[in-house]
């Protein structure tokens, strides 16, 4: 069937900000969909609130809106753009939910729903509909009962027994779900689940805990052709969300007849749902028996993994199917010679391991269950399972704590946390048998035997460090040279002489049956390498690895931009190394060659050794990539390679990181900075902090996303801090800075070519200095600084970029207090604000930087700093609703997972939009609860007055109400939490509070603050924790009451 001729214009809804359960995979799938549509001559209208996405780049779609993903706003866009169709399945659950809401509103009367039909959305998400569909087609599902109220608990226990699984309907990544082992646990989880579900419905289900968890990615076209792209098997059995599980592809432990039974069921299900496109189907399997667990009638994180695991571009093909093309009419772009209507065959093993944020959230509950907590994942490819496991562990790039206590190991194994995968190795090291571990974990013994092989290999190496054969064998098991060095104590050079260089093999969708032209490679220890060195000028760009707090999709965005910029240049081949399966940078056609590899020093250097590289770019991948600059340069010299680190020299990077060298430079340039020093011991730290004067800001050097950074008020706090910080980073000193209270913080992103400096944007933070810049909302252009100060900011940026010798990107953090501009830090690399700046100003600074790094001049590239007459606000998305037990207070440690942008012609309107997009929608009427620190009472009065004048009703606890009354502002009294019920928590529970303004309190009322904030998160009540944000909120509410929000594509603002 040819494509549907009447579909000329299609709306694609993105998935919004990165959050737990919804990460970069939807930028990857959305971008593929945009390209696929345009290849077919279909015009694309795209809506997304997340500026750090490739899909929102100019040229990806005809019309791009960076607007809140709220159905009334999208309905207006539909009215204006009049698309013929809406592609429902590309924006994750957000996209599906939005499509359903739009349809319910009647906004899709003239718009055809393409891909996932409305009924499939309901059947996929509404448990009862899903169940009855499965029964209709004779597919088994776990026994279950639907609850809409807490009163039905006993009924539920009678029907399905305990333990039972709780799954709320219509939530992302299973948020609010869990496994209940007792009646009390069940009550607690159900209450939470009901409040999270869009339709106030949860499902209580027969527990299939411990069964194998199997997934299929299925595709279907309009001619009813169905194919399985990939089967995947979770190493962690049922009970842990697949996004939280270690997953292997293909399925390894099922016989063919078992596999085929579920394959046939999967096909039956996609047919019954009438999905035209991609669908993810999950099964539980035990002893020949299976249950259908879940269906996601859309592209998903699993489909992104399946795409990367097989090379098959699921989103691209799904998009083409949605507009009517048949699978056999679509070319498999990987082989270029076969149609997309086949099933990939793979000749390697893929392992995915999630990356959790618990290094950032010490208080969080680390237990893994059916709700997602991880922020990202890594994928590794090997020719053996052992090799893939070892490569995945290396790719994670986390500090792993080794456990040696048997009781602790048993605890982690039986009540799994993020540490379980590593703990399996510890358990075997300790001598636990595979059978014992199976008892505790229900993990299929096959996988444990593979882990045992690895541990046995460690032991053999340790026992015979001089055996070259054992070293060769370890290499085949995927051990890195560094790991072998560590175990054997031999020199790296000796090991290198013994082991052959790795071979690179191609991912080609077809196990070599057909010649492929996609340049997608992984390394393995085998004789034949498929890469033939060439004379072309090649550049290797380091990607950013798994998404984690502090190193998010922004760096992937920069990586992709760098690639795009260099591919525009004549005669340069651009290669990427990365290990994150969710991203655009690891899409098969983003670069000229993709290496899906760990990114430790030797993995990168191995690539450099394989082929002659002109240069390496480390600036775009975030701090991890930057940290490799110096070691890579040393290796290049040692090996005598002709490769260079492109852009800013590693030495200049070191100046920026080294406090002493940096201070000297600032002194030379006559640029002020807060008093600062560094210390290598606790005693030294105490002495120096005393000299600077408390409060001080302390942190280890070489930080990522402000890890372990704190504001310390006295010596006692410093002592506590030093014990933790020194453990975090033993090799580097602790940095101590004077903390500028109530200063305005600025971020500047600029490009320097060694002669000239181009300022991309100057951003004013909405929160005060001291809150991590990654967690702070910010605005372009600055709102409260006089022109003179801005000129100083420009001058310092220029001087510092040139003084440091920056070639490429630089991000500066500054603070302004009493009109004095201080430099807080300089990062000669891509920053997380680069995408925001690019979107807000239209200057693609990462692309410009990449060109400058290969020798182009700024003056020839034709860009200059832009004056804009619109306002763009970046707001962040915090993960507290996904992580129980986490302190919601913001500080110098970064906590946010993603960001959104609000754009309009007025600050208030832009801020309002940003708040909606960040799931923190400001109320225009109703009750507001205010509780602030006594020291801030004078500052809160004008804000409270403004909110009162805007018609909102104020509530507060005793102290706050008293001083508001004194200032002549009426406010209603409500009890503190400690004062018993009914109190503010009860009001929140009953939905009577629409906004909470609660700033950090003294120690005494910390518990109250914590409970209120936790309740705000759990009941999804918007909240504000800083006075600056409260002031901005008042402005925003005022603006929205006065004038209409602008609804224009991004190109309109940048005209």
């Amino acid at each position: 069937m040819p494509k549907k001729a009447h579909i000329r214009k299609v709306l694609i809804i993105g998935s919004g900000p990165i959050q737990i359960g919804q990460a970069a995979e939807f930028d990857f799938s959305g971008s593929q969909a945009c390209r696929a549509m345009r290849e077919e001559g279909v015009e694309v209208v795209l809506v997304n609130s997340n500026p750090a996405t490739i899909q929102t780049d100019p040229g990806m779609a005809e019309t791009i809106y960076i607007e809140p993903l709220r159905s009334d706003i999208i309905a207006k866009i539909i009215e204006k753009e009049k698309p013929d169709g809406i592609l429902s399945g590309m924006g994750g659950q957000t996209g599906l939910n939005m499509t359903a809401e739009l349809a319910e509103k009647g906004a899709l009367k003239d718009v055809e729903i393409l891909g996932t039909p409305l009924e499939a959305i309901y059947k996929g998400e509404d448990r009862e509909k899903f169940r009855s569909l499965m029964m209709e087609i004779g597919e088994p599902v776990p026994k279950s009962i639907i609850l809409t109220s807490l009163t039905q608990i006993e009924e539920a226990i009678n029907a399905v027994g305990l333990p039972a699984v709780v799954r709320p309907a219509y939530t992302l990544g299973g948020a609010g779900g869990g496994i209940a082992r007792t009646r009390e646990e069940l009550l607690r989880i159900v209450e939470l689940g009901l409040s999270r579900s869009r339709i106030h419905q949860v499902l209580i289900e027969e527990s299939v805990l411990g069964w194998k968890e199997i997934e299929f990615e299925v595709m279907r076209d309009s001619a009813d052709t169905c194919i399985i792209i990939c089967g995947m098997e979770n190493v962690d059995p049922m009970g842990i969300h697949t996004g939280e599980s270690v997953v292997v592809a293909p399925i390894l432990t099922l016989r063919d007849d078992e596999f085929q039974t579920m394959r046939s069921a999967a096909i039956k299900i996609i047919r019954a749902l009438d999905v035209q496109g991609g669908c993810n189907i999950q099964f539980a399997f035990r002893n020949g028996d299976y249950r259908v667990i879940e269906v996601n009638p859309r592209v998903s994180r699993s489909s992104a993994l399946a795409s990367k695991a097989t090379g098959y571009p699921i989103a691209r093909v799904a998009a083409k199917i949605a507009i009517g093309l048949r699978l056999d009419e679509i070319t498999n772009t990987v082989t270029g010679c076969t149609p997309a209507s086949f099933e990939p065959a793979i000749d390697y093993i893929v392992v995915k391991v999630p990356r959790w944020p618990f290094d950032k959230f010490k208080g969080a509950d680390r237990t893994l269950s059916t709700a997602m907590k991880s922020t990202g994942e890594v994928m590794a490819i090997g020719r053996t399972i052992e090799e893939a496991f070892m490569k995945a562990k290396r790719s994670l790039d986390t500090d792993v704590q080794t456990h040696t206590s048997p009781s602790e190991i048993r605890m982690i194994l039986s009540r799994p946390t993020d540490e379980r995968f590593h703990c399996l190795f510890d358990a075997i090291r300790l001598g636990m048998t595979v059978d014992e571990i199976v008892q505790l974990t229900s993990i299929t013994p096959f996988f444990l035997e593979k882990i045992k092989n690895i541990v046995d290999m460690e032991k053999r190496l340790a026992a015979a460090p001089d055996s070259d054969d054992e070293i060769l064998c370890a290499k085949r098991y995927g051990f890195s040279t560094a790991e072998i060095v560590q175990i054997t104590g031999r020199k790296p050079e000796e090991i290198e002489r013994i082991v052959p260089a790795p071979a690179y093999k191609m991912v080609d969708t077809c196990a070599a049956e057909f010649p492929a032209n996609t340049p997608y490679f992984y390394s393995t220890c085998e004789p034949v390498c498929e890469i033939v060195p060439t004379d072309t000028k090649k550049v290797l760009i380091l990607g950013s690895g798994p998404i984690r707090i502090g190193q998010g999709i922004e760096f992937d965005y920069c990586t992709v931009h760098a690639v795009q910029a260099l591919r525009e240049e004549e005669g340069i081949e651009v290669h990427i190394v990365n290990n994150n399966p969710e991203t655009v940078s690891t899409d098969f056609d983003t670069s000229d060659r993709l290496f899906f590899e760990p990114m430790q020093l030797e993995d990168v250097v191995n690539i450099l050794k394989k082929d002659g590289y002109y240069g390496v770019m480390v600036q775009f991948g975030g701090q991890n990539a930057v940290n490799l600059a110096v070691p890579i340069e040393q290796e290049i010299q040692r090996l005598g390679l002709k490769t260079r680190i492109l852009g800013t020299s590693p030495d200049a990077m070191d100046i920026a990181e080294d406090r002493d060298r940096f201070s000297l430079l600032l002194k030379k340039l006559k640029i002020p900075c807060p008093a600062n020093t560094s210390a290598y011991s606790e005693a030294e730290a105490k002495k120096k902090a005393e000299q600077i004067g408390y409060p001080v800001l302390v942190r280890p050097s070489y930080v990522l996303g402000g890890r372990a950074m704190e504001i310390v008020h006295d010596e006692r706090e410093l002592e506590t801090y030093m014990k933790e910080a020194v453990r975090v980073s033993r090799n580097h000193p602790v940095l101590i800075d004077s903390y500028l209270q109530n200063a305005i913080e600025l971020d500047v992103d600029a490009v320097c070519d060694g002669k000239e400096v181009l300022i991309g944007g100057i951003m004013e933070h909405i929160e005060q200095a001291g809150i991590h810049s990654g967690d702070s909302a910010c605005v372009i252009p600055t709102q409260s600084l006089p022109p003179g100060v801005i000129d100083t900011v420009r001058e310092y940026t220029r001087k510092l970029a040139l003084g440091l010798g920056v070639i490429g990107l630089v991000n500066l953090q500054m603070a302004v207090k009493d009109n004095i501009v201080y430099i807080l830090e300089a990062n000669p690399r891509a920053s997380r604000t680069v995408p925001f700046v690019s979107k807000a100003t239209g200057i693609p600074i990462a692309k410009i930087a990449a060109k400058v790094m290969i020798g182009r001049r700024l003056k020839d590239l034709g860009y200059s700093e832009r004056e804009i007459d619109h306002v763009a606000v970046k707001e962040v998305l915090l993960p507290f609703n996904k992580l129980a037990g986490v302190d919601t207070m913001l500080g110098p440690e970064m906590k946010s997972t993603g960001e959104v942008m609000g754009i309009d012609y007025d600050f208030g309107l832009a801020f309002y939009k940003a708040c909606i997009s960040a799931d923190n929608e400001l109320p225009l009427k109703g009750n507001i609860f205010i509780s602030v620190n006594m020291e801030q009472k004078n500052d809160v009065i004008p804000i409270a007055r403004k909110l009162r004048d805007l018609g909102l009703i104020l509530y507060g606890t005793e102290g706050t109400v008293d001083y508001l009354h004194e200032a002549g502002i009426e406010a209603n009294l409500v009890r503190k939490v400690q004062e018993g019920s009914p109190n503010v928590l009860d009001m929140m529970r009953h939905g009577e509070i629409r906004l909470i303004i609660n700033t950090p309190q003294d120690k005494k009322s910390r518990e109250d603050h914590y409970q209120i904030m936790r309740a705000a998160v759990d009941f999804q009540i918007p909240y504000i924790t800083t006075l600056q944000a409260a002031r901005a909120a008042a402005l925003a509410i005022d603006a929205v009451k006065r004038e209409k929000m602008t609804l224009e594509p991004i190109s309109h603002y940048l005209k």
Binding site: T225, P250, R255, D256, T338, S341, A345, F446, A512, E530
Partner: protein, 351 residues
């Protein structure tokens, strides 16, 4: 234990042997399936061939004998990247190979050999287990006859006729190397099965008063099946005729059509075939020879083509009531997507 695989182009690879010491020579072919290694190893169509798995770990769930497609392993030898030493099932593939005195080799860069096969076309090879003498293995490979000169069918066909009774339609089967699941698919539909050796005469077939004739899969060059072709010629027009794999090729040859050798064949569980109505099905395939579409006489319609390379995957002659497919609708290993389509169609056509 050492092992070496020599190829007719003069190259060889060494690896680790499993099973028992010994040697074999024949065609080296690769299969891309990811599950179902025991089904493949026991598929009689692999007689005369050394089977290489592109999937790197074989034996993950042990030697599951219940899914085997004939009594025992039929390949000359198995070549893989790795065999699993500790699967969840007790009996490992290694144990099985030792017990049944078979030849196997692991530790091979199978991907590079697959690429070589793809570029070069199928090669003759020799597997020597217990030695790493590459030159010897190469000499052995070069001495191996071409598959088209091998008479492989008698070794895998039944020796005497037998019956598997059923309450439904009577199906006469010429066994050229029958896969167990063809029987399963026919008996599931209550077929009353009369199974004959490859050299059966048409009189014997008519003697059982069948409702149709079914020709099975089998090894090697279809032109070697001279007896079966002769019998088939006499049955055409008299009986509805069905066939799978070699059955498809023999029907074409009996009609005066031609077959030819593919460069490296189709072997895997992911092969797309396109039906006349435009639908695509994913199928299991195992063939090195193929029907020449141009050679088919008038009245024949190609019903299935391979979506990858356009080769014939099935044809029909309505007047003569012939309906055959080149792929394996009985699957095992592989997808069941065409099982109903083909076998239901077969029984619908005969009544």
């Amino acid at each position: 234990m050492k092992a070496v695989l020599g190829l007719e182009d003069g190259s060889f690879v060494t690896g680790d042997g499993f099973g028992v010491e010994g040697e074999c020579s024949g065609e080296l072919v690769f299969n891309t399936l990811m599950t179902g290694y025991m089904e493949a190893l026991s598929d009689p169509s692999y007689a005369g061939q050394i089977l290489m798995f592109t999937f790197p770990t074989i034996g993950n769930y042990g030697a599951d004998v219940q899914n085997m497609q004939s009594q025992g392993v039929k390949v000359l030898g198995a070549v893989c990247r790795e065999i699993c030493e500790v699967p969840d099932m007790k009996q490992t593939v290694r144990d099985y190979f030792e017990q049944k005195r078979l030849l196997g080799m692991s530790g091979v860069d199978t991907r590079s050999l697959t690429i070589k096969t793809r570029v070069h076309g199928t090669m003759r090879a020799a597997l020597v287990v217990g030695s790493d003498d590459g030159d010897y293995a190469v000499r052995l490979a070069k001495k191996a006859p071409s598959i088209s000169d091998c008479d492989l069918i008698p070794s895998v066909s039944c020796k005497a006729p037998y019956r598997i009774p059923g309450k439904g339609k009577r199906v006469a089967i010429i066994d050229l190397g029958l896969k167990t699941n063809i029987i399963t698919s026919l008996t599931r539909r209550k077929g009353d099965l009369y199974i004959f050796p490859h050299n059966v005469t048409h009189e014997e077939i008519f003697g059982c008063e069948p409702d149709c004739l079914f020709i099975t899969n089998g090894p090697g060059d279809p032109k070697q099946a001279k007896d079966a072709i002769a019998t088939l010629k006499k049955c055409i027009g008299e009986l509805p005729i069905f066939g799978i794999c070699m059955g498809n090729q023999l029907a074409a040859l009996a009609l005066g059509g031609d077959t030819y050798k593919l460069k490296f064949g189709h072997r895997g569980a992911n092969q797309p075939v396109k039906y006349v109505d435009g639908r695509i099905f994913i199928t299991t395939q195992n063939h090195g020879f193929c029907v020449d579409a141009e050679s088919l006489p008038e009245g024949c319609e190609v019903t299935f083509v391979n979506a990858n390379d356009g080769t014939v995957e099935g044809f029909e002659n309505e007047d003569l009531r012939i309906n055959c497919v080149q792929f394996h609708p009985e699957a095992h290993a592989g997808p069941m997507d065409t099982e109903c389509h083909y076998f239901d169609g077969l029984f619908r056509r005969i009544g």
